[in-house]
Symmetry: C2
Subunit: 343 residues, 2 copies
């Protein structure tokens, strides 16, 4: 039982190999009658066109590349799941590339994907440096490309973004409306997303004529993953040992939020009675913490779906101009915030 | 600036296209002098061989497929990260296929990967049905294939497994050594991995002449993900409302372990003073729970690395027989277990 070849199909249908190829790739007009003969032959012989050969003749490999800083972060797998959902519907396969958050690796992986002749590339949370140095603008000229989150001001490229300004604003307005006027801000170093939130923090406090206290800006070394919890505990404990403690803390992500809660517990400070905490991202740990953490939902799944849809659209219609799609965020009210005691 | 073709390289080097192809694919002896000329030409023209064409000529696409039940589960991304690590070193790219845990989708994704002509396939936690019905045994005849965890008794296929029997034994012996003789067992339905643990539970209790109480076997509907915590809380609360409560609970995974702790807290039962809890898997939530959950480490990262290494080895040496690699598990002692009060 040898595998049938394109030559067998041609012979069976009584047409040339070229004609069979045209029917398979649908890239050249063929008489309806001839098409039917070829399709019958394909069916009768159970012929499966060689995918790679078809890709060489046709223009599409039906593959896309997805570059992520780390697949073990709790945020990115949900984005990838959203991407997978859409790609699966359209019969596109995903190359998954994990960069360990290294800018060098991001560029190598991109090169690798170009060699694999993927139809397009999605980059989740691209490194600031590769946006700044023009790398992605150059890539966007060569291949359909969508960047997910990341720095985007003035960059000529397709983006799908969460409205992080809105998210930070929602969180802060929520605390201020409850009566908080002594709100600490907890961030990690070196991330555009924390920069945005810090800026909104200053703006929102100013708008409400709340003075910013220098000691209320807490900065830890690293923001993503388990080590963040320990770093946050340490930084927050140091702050809570001071004489006047804030009534609320806005943490730039849920890892930090969990750290705040654990620091407070260690010091006998009740949450939310003595201290309100709000997180950001709505990753799974925010739902299993005690009390459950109030946070901002980043719509990770929608983010993945929207970016995959945009990419497939660009692949189909490559001449359209660049665009930025910005998704709304939502405050998820749970149990970690309440009005301050002495408002 | 046209892209250079293989013909340009041949012309520049003064050799035939066939010779250039032989050098690129390294599939036929070429005189050292000629090889050097061709390599110089490739460098001078900055020629990049067309990947797809090279794949057609050569035998390898340098891609492998990874099939996972769900990339958003906390367990699987770490396995994928281990796989990525090894593949990246060897310049293999990963196709990621998410099946949503559906056996039908597992088969479709496998078919898709075969059409993409991947060099091999890894399946994490394959569905019992597709192992039982012979699907994977058939696949293993067609393509290098390694299954990670999953039912394997008498199945002719390559496996990389965690020693779940050892893990369950370690957890139970640890509790018994502390003096526990009233140990409940919490599992979900329909998983081979829970079946193994339940069997070890019966065997170990028998070995220590501890009678099994029917009311100590707790079964919930679904075992993977956030909903498991709620289901576990509910099942455990019902058990803890009874007159005689166990002194320890062995939960089949960390989600369930967290559920046990939350149920106990809701009922004012202190952990570990009034109730010891042990989980399984060592996913990230076991480290941020309070108290920190004692659990069994599944070596997820090593599991990924070992399976990728095995697969690449099979791709290189396809004639070797099937094998099963079984990795040891390790008990991770944290803060959720202590000796029972009335031992």
């Amino acid at each position: 039982m040898e595998k049938p070849t394109i030559a067998d199909v041609a012979k069976y249908a009584g047409v040339s190999i070229t004609t069979v190829s045209r029917v398979i790739n649908n890239n050249y007009p063929v008489k309806e009658e001839t098409r039917q003969k070829v399709e019958e032959a394909i069916k009768a012989l159970n012929f499966k066109p060689n995918y790679l050969a078809r890709s060489l003749i046709g223009k599409s490999t039906h593959t896309i590349g997805v570059i992520v800083p780390s697949i073990t972060n709790l945020f990115f797998p949900v984005v990838v799941k959203g991407i997978e959902k859409i790609c699966n519907q359209k019969a596109f396969s995903l190359f998954l590339c994990d960069t360990d958050g290294k800018e060098e690796s991001e560029r190598t992986q991109m090169q690798n994907l170009l060699e694999k002749q993927v139809d397009g590339v999605l980059v989740i949370d691209p490194r600031y440096e590769n946006i700044e140095n023009g790398f992605y603008e150059e890539c966007a000229k060569k291949i359909p490309l969508v960047l997910i989150n990341g720095y985007h001001r003035g960059i000529r490229c397709n983006f799908v973004l969460n409205d992080q300004e809105m998210g930070a604003l929602q969180a802060l307005e929520y605390l201020i409306k409850m009566g908080h006027r002594d709100i600490a801000f907890l961030r990690a170093k070196n991330s555009y997303s924390y920069d945005i939130k810090e800026q909104i923090y200053y703006e929102t406090l100013k708008k409400h004529q709340i003075p910013v206290k220098e000691e209320n800006i807490l900065v830890i070394e690293s923001g993503n993953g388990l080590e963040t919890v320990e770093l946050a505990i340490h930084a927050v404990q140091k702050r809570l040992e001071q004489s006047e403690i804030p009534t609320a803390i806005f943490a730039c992500n849920d890892w930090m939020g969990v750290g705040v809660m654990q620091a407070a517990k260690k010091m006998g400070i009740a949450i939310p009675k003595d201290l309100s905490v709000i997180g950001y991202d709505n990753i799974v740990i925010s739902e299993i913490s005690e009390p459950k953490l109030t946070t901002v939902d980043q719509n990770m799944y929608s983010l993945g779906k929207a970016s995959a849809k945009l990419l497939l659209d660009i692949i189909k219609h490559p001449t359209q101009g660049f665009q930025k799609i910005i998704l709304d965020t939502n405050l998820i009210v749970r149990d970690s915030c309440t009005s301050p005691k002495n408002k």
